[in-house]
Structure formats: structure tokens, C-alpha cells
């Protein structure tokens, strides 16, 4: 049976964070019920098309999936299990935000089969949390982790952010230390991306918020790699670190170009050689919009995506698999670029994998561009 990953989007939040431009809609409590009913309808509609598949991972992302009654998630999982069989060891993640969790919710989630909890901690500095527009405090994050343990979660992840306006290296160091001290299995450390149209972008543009210099950002990132390695968290992707065996299998599917079905508003899919997604807007989704901008991927698209995604992981790009998939050695036509990049210390090749060095990862876009550059030649 062919493996499938499931992504389920929950587009609700208590309030919008200053940097957020994803599909999340605060103040739409009245639509929660309608939304989940539409979601369940979508799952039922997919069921006949998923025959012969087996779910290996599922991921509830948001938004804040822990905002509402956990029964919604439990019922959604039950419907999914009816639509497609789950592997016995399936990784089932639910994102959640400290401040929205209760022991009761966590018990329901765990009971429904959720076995991985990913918490949006972002920082352990309350002033920075306020500036980001988060609704929780550092203490609540610690409390959330303890509650998760008590509810029986053996795989907990924290999302952290750096390169924040006004954030010092010392603050970042403390945040990493605090995350490590909580003994979680997985840590994601994301550099802030200022998206156009967000309050954060306006603050930066007006000079109210100053972003750190590139060198400072690199220093924070290097410190994260170093400190987390020392604490037993290996880097397995540009922004992701885990204790051995706790790498997020769901996210690895994205980078490996495995198949996944996205359900709910704004959810993206890669299925049967096509990429498509549901409407970005809640109302568009509620109105029944599905499978928009479907694009059948050509071999060239697939090759380009492979370069772009596989190089994000520390495992790297599987050269033998490339040759199988695209019928030519990866080196062909890229000799000059590869030599140049290797000489510069941005890439390395061993054990049949081409991977970016830590320095190369800091310049991932530019390196990928070089690797694509010769594709057409």
C-alpha cells in the first residue's frame, strides 16, 4: 500500500500575531462548527480516491488547533481513519499554543491517537513574546510541556524564533537554554521572516522595529546549531533539530517530495504528480472551493523541486535516486557549478549524497540557484 501523509489545517486563532500572514482567522468562533463540518465533508469526499493508501503521518496545523474543544480534532481523526487506514506506528502531530492548553484537552487528544505535540513557544522572554503579539508567557510554555507529559505525550516539540527586532544574542541563548531545560525531544528554530502586509512589516518600514544585521542573524543561527548539538539535538534540516529518532517524519515527507494530502482551508497537496491547494480564505473554503491551481508537475518541475527541497536536509540529495528518477547523473551539465560550490565550501558530497555545508545552508537560496542554473544548459 502506498504511503500517504495528511495535513489538516485549522485556521482559527485567538488573535493574530504581529508577523503572521498565514491562513488564520481570529474572531470567527461562530464558524468553528461549520468549518469542521465542511472539513469532515471534504474527508468523506476524498475517501473513495484514497483506496489502496495508508496514512503514515498526520499533522494538525494552524492557526491554533488547540484553541477549540479537542473533540473536534478527535472527531476529525476518527473520520480520517474511516477514510484511509493508518499505519500502526503513524506519527500524529497536533500543533498547539501555550495558553490554550488544558489537561482535559490534552487527554482527549492523546486518547484520540495524537502522539506528538508541537508547541509554539517562540521565545522564553516575555517582553519579546508581547512584541510578537503572542498570547502566552514563558511560564505558560513550561506549564504546557509539563501538562503534555502528564497527559502521556512522549514526543514534544517547541518552535522558537530568532532574528527578532530588539532580540539580543543573550536573550536567544537564554531561550535555547530554557527550551533544552524542558527536556523536549524536538526543537524548530526559525529565523523571523518579515512578510509584506503584516504589522511587523509596517513596524520595520516605519523604523519602529529594527531587524538585526545578517551577520548577527548568522551568529544566532550558528549558536543554535552549536548549543543544540551540545544538548543532544542533531540538526536534520535548516531550521529543525531533534534527539535521535525524533525527527519529524511528517516534515521529512515534504522535503523528500513524498505524497501528502492537505485538507481544510489553505491546505496544500502533492498527490499523484500534481500540486494543488484549497482556497486561502475561510469563506472561499466554506463556499466549497477545492483543489485550486492544480498543476501537473513535469520532470523538470520535479527536478527543480528536488534540488530546492532535498538540499534543506542534512541528509542531502540522494544522487542514485536522482539518476533513477531523472535518467541522468546529477553532475551532468553541473560540473562547473558543483566544482565552484565545492571549492567555496558551500556543498559537499559523500556516501552518495550531495549536501549543503552549514555555511552553504546560510546561503541556501543562492546555492540552489547555482545548482539549478546549469539544469537548462
Amino acid at each position: 500500500m502506498s504511503a500517504l501523509s495528511l495535513y489538516i489545517h485549522v485556521p482559527f486563532c485567538r488573535s493574530k500575531c504581529a508577523y503572521c500572514d498565514f491562513a488564520s482567522y481570529p474572531g470567527r468562533e461562530g464558524d468553528w462548527r461549520r468549518y469542521f463540518e465542511a472539513l469532515w465533508g471534504e474527508i468523506d469526499a476524498w475517501a473513495p480516491r484514497l483506496v489502496g493508501r495508508r496514512a503514515v503521518t498526520a499533522f494538525f496545523g494552524g492557526g491554533t488547533p488547540t484553541l477549540m474543544d479537542a473533540e473536534y480534532i478527535a472527531e476529525t481523526l476518527a473520520r480520517l481513519r474511516r477514510a484511509v487506514p493508518f499505519a500502526p506506528d503513524a506519527e500524529i502531530t497536533c500543533e498547539g499554543n501555550p495558553g490554550t492548553l488544558t489537561p482535559e484537552k490534552l487527554t482527549v487528544l492523546r486518547g484520540a491517537g495524537v502522539n506528538r505535540l508541537s508547541l509554539g513557544a517562540q521565545s522564553f522572554d516575555d517582553a519579546l513574546l508581547t512584541a510578537l503579539g503572542r498570547i502566552h508567557t514563558a511560564a505558560q510554555t513550561g506549564e504546557a510541556v509539563r501538562m503534555a507529559r502528564e497527559a502521556g505525550f512522549g514526543n514534544v516539540s517547541l518552535d522558537l524564533m530568532y532574528a527578532l527586532p530588539g532580540q539580543s544574542m543573550a536573550q536567544w541563548r537564554d531561550t535555547l537554554d530554557a527550551a533544552v531545560a524542558l527536556g523536549v525531544e524536538h526543537i524548530s528554530a526559525y529565523s523571523l521572516i518579515v512578510e509584506p502586509g503584516t504589522p511587523m512589516a509596517a513596524r520595520v518600514a516605519s523604523g519602529a522595529a529594527a531587524l538585526p544585521e545578517d551577520d548577527e542573524v548568522n551568529a544566532m543561527q550558528r549558536h543554535a546549531v552549536h548549543a543544540l548539538a551540545g544538548a543532544g539535538y542533531g540538526r536534520y534540516e535548516i531550521s529543525n533539530f531533534a534527539c535521535r529518532g525524533f525527527e519529524c517524519r511528517h516534515n521529512l515527507v515534504y522535503w523528500d517530495r513524498g505524497e501528502y494530502l492537505g485538507l481544510g482551508c489553505a491546505a496544500h497537496s502533492l498527490l499523484e504528480g500534481r500540486r494543488f491547494h484549497n482556497p486561502e480564505s475561510l469563506d472561499g473554503y466554506l463556499a466549497g472551493g477545492r483543489e485550486e491551481e492544480a498543476q501537473r508537475l513535469t520532470a523538470a518541475d520535479a527536478a527543480e523541486e528536488t534540488v530546492m527541497l532535498a538540499t534543506r536536509t542534512t541528509r542531502g540529495l540522494d544522487l542514485a535516486r536522482w539518476e533513477r528518477e531523472f535518467g541522468a547523473p546529477f553532475r551532468r551539465g553541473r560540473e562547473a557549478a558543483l566544482a565552484r560550490l565545492a571549492r567555496g565550501g558551500w556543498i559537499e558530497t559523500d556516501g552518495g549524497f550531495l549536501r549543503l555545508t552549514p555555511r552553504g545552508m546560510e546561503l541556501h537560496n543562492a546555492v540552489v540557484l547555482e545548482l539549478l542554473e546549469d539544469t537548462k544548459a
Binding site: Y7, H9, F22, F59, G61, S188, Y190, S191, L192, I193, D214, D215, V217, N218, I238, S239, Y254, Y260, G262, A266, A267, H268, S269, L270, R275, H277, E304, E305, M308, L309, R340, L341, G344, W346, M361, E362, L363, H364, N365, A366, V367, V368, L369, E370, L372, E373
Partner: protein
Amino acid sequence: MSYDQSRIRNFCIIAHIDHGKSTLADRILEKTGVMKLRDMTDQVLDSMELERERGITIKSKAVRMPYTARDGREYELNLIDTPGHVDFTYEVSRALAACEGAVLVVDASQGIEAQTLANVYMALDHDLEIRPVINKIDLPSAQPEVVKQEIEDEIGLDCEGCPLVSAKQGIGIEDVLEDIVNNVPAPKDDPKAPLQALIFDSYYDNYRGAISSVRVKAGSVKVGDRIRMMAGKCEFDVTEVGAYLPLGYSPRESLSAGEVGYIAASIKDIADIHVGDTITLANNPAAEPLPGYKPVLPMVYCGIYPADGADYENLRDALEKLRLNDAALSYEPETSVALGYGFRCGFLGLLHMEIIQQRLEREFDLDLVTTAPSVVYKVVKTDGETLFIDNPTNLPTAQEIDWMEEPMVDAQVITPQEFVGAIMELCQDKRGTFRDMKYIEGGRVLLKYDLPLNEVIYDFFDQLKSRTRGYASFDYELKGYERSDLVKLDMLLNGEQCDALSIIVHRDRAYPRGRSIAEKLKEAIPRQLFEIPIQAAIGGKVIARETVKALRKDVLAKCYGGDISRKKKLLEKQKEGKKRMRQVGSVSVPSEAFMAVLKMD
């Protein structure tokens, strides 16, 4: 109207730019009734979009107008429009040679300007009857009496009773026409002599082929005649002759001595028609061509390349089309290591160059990369051979060169007195040699300098404008070649020489130019994976250096819920940006960088 030379008046209008030449021409057309008010778009003669926008005439045109004068007689007025810019001086001189008179338009508040004088001197050279007209008398700042006095004092023209007009308001137009009828001499050409027709313009018509605009100076020509181009040495059969109306052709049986019109002869290539050449009849040729012919030679060259290499064919087609109408434009294919396939194009001057570039971009929707303009240098090699070099890349090595010469111009600047110091400083900076200074009416000064053309095409106009707040006017004429200490300045990116950035400069200018170009390149070249040294060098010796620092950070932190579209979009954008860049060795150079070099400080 039957043929009667005494009723013909051939005239042109000369003026400094902006003094209202085109508007006056429009009013004249309106007054004589060849254009109805409702047919008029502003400035009929300036039909090309660019001409209208810039308020200058690029090509010569001629229009025939019947006019019944106050004496009750009907006259045939031929208005020959002349190009209004220094780049087209030769075309202007040929148009003047086709006339007996010139209407000199002077702005009632601006008075005499550099081009006014240059045009007047040229008209005097052609023995034209110059009829001053004071324009824009409706403006509050108009001082017609002062300007009249200035014309009398400076040019020595009698302004007694000269028409005071406002072309814009349509005031005094009839006075101008009467003045022309009464004072511009009728042609006194011999209709019985062998044909001599002066070509003062040429252009391409899709149905008639390349057409000559002519003034018949002797004899006559009719359909079916076999004509010979006396300098061009080729022969054609006449398919049509006639006069021009503002909106089209008016075919006639023949054109005779004293008349102005066109000759069509199924000529495919406009290069067969040389402005200034004489047309005669093959079976009854004139003994001598009319005087004054000289082949038009481009003075300024630059490389024009498509920003996207795939547009090469489109660029070639576009140049071919422009060349149909513009014999002064020359182009031939060239290749650059940095820019790929493109064309070396020759122009009459900077304005001509700009016009062609803009037409290529607007009318043909092409994205271009142009290299720094170069003049034509004369190189005398140690083995005695003489070369003319229009592309720095083709310059022989310093060891092979005995000496070099550069083209010089006679320049005249007219300026309010307060800017004399600034202009002298500028001309000094530009390696100019002072020739003369004269005080003229209105507290202004006429300055004459010899200037190297390569300094004029650099940033002279911009500098002049900014140092005199636009009050000075400038005019120049090619003078000849002078020996000069010139060197080739090369730019190296990451140690690789970039051919498209090489220029030829005077040795004394090499250091500041090299430093300035290196600084410009530093700004224009985006950070890349590795550090990029930028060097300016003469013969391998580095004289200036800048560095584009290596990229520090360029990474997208995450993909949201399997949505890789953001990352893909970013990548597409970067790929698109990269496609528009040129590879110089391992360095990606944006197209704009090549242009940035042209724009100085």
C-alpha cells in the same frame, strides 16, 4: 496654378529649440488653408511621437501651400522644415540650400540663443534672405523692442517692420506670410538646363520605396525619366513626382526648376539616396553636381545588445526598419564576451543615439543593454598603418601604437554673464582650449572653445545644465582630428576583463574615470556567493579597486504546511533576475550595470 517661378517662395523656419518654430509652422499651414482646423493635431510637421515629445524635429519635411496674397496674386509657398538639433547640422545645411529665404523665429523674452546664432550663420552661408519674426509676444515677460534691438546689434538684420507674432494665439501670422511673399526672392533657376535636383531628405514609404525630397535647381524631371545619382553613381526609373501636402502626396506630371517636391523611383534601399547628392537625367546629365555634397559619417558609436539574448533577431529586424528611414544610422553585428550577440551602431551624435535607443524600446518593445558611447579615434601604428577605431575592444596594444588622434569640435556656448566662470571651469575640466569670448546684448556672453568630442559625449550636457541651471545654450561642429595622449581603460571583475566596459580616455582622465566606474559597478552588482573584486586597469596596471562583499545570508526559514509555493515563487523571481544578468567569468552582472557606467555622478 501654372508653372511660374516668380510666384514660388521657398523658405524654411530657423529657431533655437523652444522658440516656437513648430507652432508657427502649424499656424502657417492653417492660415493658408491646406490644413483645416479640425485636421490639426498640434505640430503637424513633427509627426513622430518622439519629435512631439521632445519638441524637436528629427527629419526634414517640406509642404507646399497655395497662398493668395494681399496683392491678389496666388503664390506657391514651400515650407521646408529643418531638423532642430546640432546632430543634424549637415541635414540642416542641405535643407537651407534648397531655400531662398529663412524665417528666423526669436522668442520675445529669451532673445538670441546659441542655436539662433549657429542657424543664422549657416543661413548666411547659403545667401538666404533672413526674415526675423518675434514670437511669443503674448507672454507677460515679452520684450519685443529689446529683442529687436538685440537682433539688429548682434546679427545686423534690419528689424524695421518685422512681424510681431504669437504663434500660439494665432496673432500676426498673415504678416509673416506677406513678409515672405514680398521679401523672400523667387527662385531664378534655368528650366531649360540639364536636370540638377538637390536631395535634402530621404525616407521610406511602404508603397513607393525610398523617396528623395528635392529642390529642383535646374531643368525638370517627370515620370518615366531615367535618373542618375551623381555621387551615389546609381540609376533609377522615376515612378512618381509631386509635391507634399501636410497629410500626403500630391502627384504631378513633372517638377521643374525652382520647385520643391519628391521623386519616387522604386528604390529599395535608402542607402542609395544620399542627402546632399544631386539627381540628374541619365540621358542628359548635368556637367557638374551641385556644390556641398559630403557623405554623412557617424560620429558616435555604441554597442546595442538585447537584454534577453533571445531577442537578437527582433533587434536586427527593428534596426533594419529604422534604417529604412534613416540613412545616417549604421549598424553591423558584433559580439561581446560579456553581452553576447548584438550590434555596433553608428550615430550622428548623442541625441541621434538616444532617439534610436528610445525608438527601439518604445516602438519595438525591446529591452536593451547599451555600452558606453565612443567616438572614432585615429590610430597610427608603429608599422605606419592608420586605423579608425570606434570600439575600444579593437584598439591595438600600446606597443603597436605610434600615436593616436581624437576628433575635436568647435563649441559655442551662450550664457548669462554670471555663469561664465562655471562654464570656463567646465570646459577646462573637459580639456577644452579657450578660443574667444564676446559680450552680447542682454548681459550675456558668447564663449568659444575647442573641445574633444569624447568629452562632449560624456556628461558635458548634463554638467552644463546643472552648472548653469539650464540657462546656457550649447552648439558644436566637428573640426577635425588632433593628436592626444589616449589610453584604454579596462574593467576587471574577479580578475576577468569585461570587454563591454572598456573605454578609451585621455590619460589624465583615466584615474578618476576608473574610480568612478568601479564605484558605480559596486553599487550595481548584487552580492553573490563569493567576494567580487572590481578593478580598473590600464595595460594591466590596476589604478582603482572596489569590492562587492560576499552574500552573508540568503535562506527561507520554513515551508508552511507543505506549501512550497512561496519558496518556488522566490526562486522563480531569482531565476528571472539571473536570466537578465550577464556572466563575466563567474560573476553575474545585471544589465543595468552596463548602463550605470554611462551615467556619471
